[in-house]
Amino acid sequence: MSCEINVKGLVKRFGQNVVLNGIDLSLKPGERVAIIGPSGTGKSTLLRCLNFLDRPDEGRITLGDLSVDVARAGKQDILALRRRTSFVFQNYALFANKNARQNITEGLTVVRGWTREKADARAEQILAQIGLADRGDSYPAAMSGGQQQRVGIGRAMALDADLMLFDEPTSALDPEWVGEVLDLIRRIADGRQTMLIVTHEMQFAREIADRIIFMDGGRIVEQGPPDQIFGNAKDDRTRAFLRRVG
């Protein structure tokens, strides 16, 4: 399930505004990478460009044997990329017309073509893992933010993707629910799932990540092991940012 991931020269513009200015990025199988940096520097856009929620303008994205020139990507390329990645949204984005179980099985039955029985069995496992074994029949509107985000993560887990993308998964949560969601992500990280996580939780990033990337102004400014970035950053911008948030 895991494979090498390579991003080369990724550029994204919104009109005149260059949001991603040539991002190069590689992830080894099982590597857990956290992206930090000031708001508006393209962290979320980078994640959203990797599965074409935002369409990048230039560059190449490679997942194992799948290599996509983003400028020329057609429908099939985009679907293929999306089917090998999974995405956890800041605002959970659970399917409002589906209960927790159906949110998890939807990708399995509709996209993967699994039978209902097989998908339901997988959903029960995942519901247990995310601590919601008894809430399979609950609709998103009836769940707390923390529960919704855990289902959102469960939906992504079910896809067993080469790369899991987390876009500020705790930023929209009330403080009381942050802990349970971080615990769940920590457990996924412990399973050596390849993941890219945009987060403002510095302590958490330091704990779970093999590597920290600091972004500013649409570029990767600095990257390295957590101890190096948090303890001994080389770039002034990184140090200034860490002072502000620390």
Binding site: L53, R82, S86, F87, F89, F95, E106, G107, R155, L159
Partner: protein
């Protein structure tokens, strides 16, 4: 001022009642056809399918911008002049055709609005798990849009039922046509048209009660 001829009105009830099935047949067939067509039109507009999108925009504009009666006359009297095989288009068919196209234009705009009203994050979530556009519309977006648009569609159905009365201008003897004939014989216009008005009113009220019941029960599965 004289009193109403109640006995005449009571006698008229079974006569008009005999035409309720034809009125409802035209209304139900038109509603179903219009709904299917409107959903297709709305999806074309939302997806902005090139060229077709433009044709649909003109279609909607025309059928919303001209009176239903004019459209019915166009179909009934006009079409046979253009297409010779349609010489025998009967009033019921022309009425159903006109009602379908006319109301599909209105419904398409309502459905489009409901589709666009579904939160952006629902599209993105469906895309992120690798659904095709058709899958995400069918499984995620349309079910949510349907819930929003259902009351509006019910109003259009009520409108369609009342609009079937225009079929009498195409020589169809439905409720209104039957009333017209009765009144022409009895000269009791007030009584006759009062009876037919009450018939429409009762039908619509029965449906409204049904609608409220449905909304209460459908509303139970929680959304948002």
């Amino acid at each position: 001022m004289q009193g109403l001829n109640i006995a005449y009105m009571l006698d008229l009830i079974p006569v008009i009642a005999g035409y309720v099935p034809l009125t409802m047949f035209m209304a139900v067939v038109s509603m179903i056809a219009a709904l299917v067509l409107a959903a297709i039109l709305a999806i074309i507009r939302v997806m902005r399918i090139p060229v077709v999108d433009w044709i649909v925009a003109v279609f909607i504009s025309f059928f919303r911008g001209t009176p239903l009666l004019v459209q019915l006359f166009l179909f009934y009297f006009g079409l046979p002049q253009i297409f010779s095989f349609l010489v025998e288009i009967d009033g019921v068919t022309a009425a159903i055709l006109g009602l379908t196209l006319h109301f599909s234009a209105y419904m398409a705009e309502s459905i489009r609005g409901a589709i666009l009203g579904v939160d952006r994050s629902q599209w993105e979530a469906a895309e992120s798990i690798g659904m095709t556009q058709i899958q995400l519309l069918r499984r995620i977006i349309l079910p949510q849009a349907a819930r929003t648009v259902a009351p509006t569609l019910m109003n259009y159905f009520i409108d369609i039922i009342k609009s079937t009365s225009l079929a009498f201008t195409l020589g169809v003897t439905e409720m209104m046509g039957a009333a017209q004939k009765e009144a022409a014989g009895s000269f009791l216009y007030v009584e006759t048209f009062l009876v037919v008005a009450i018939f429409y009113w009762v039908i619509v009220e029965v449906l409204s009660v049904g609608q409220r019941w449905m909304e209460r029960h459908l509303g139970k599965a929680v959304v948002r």
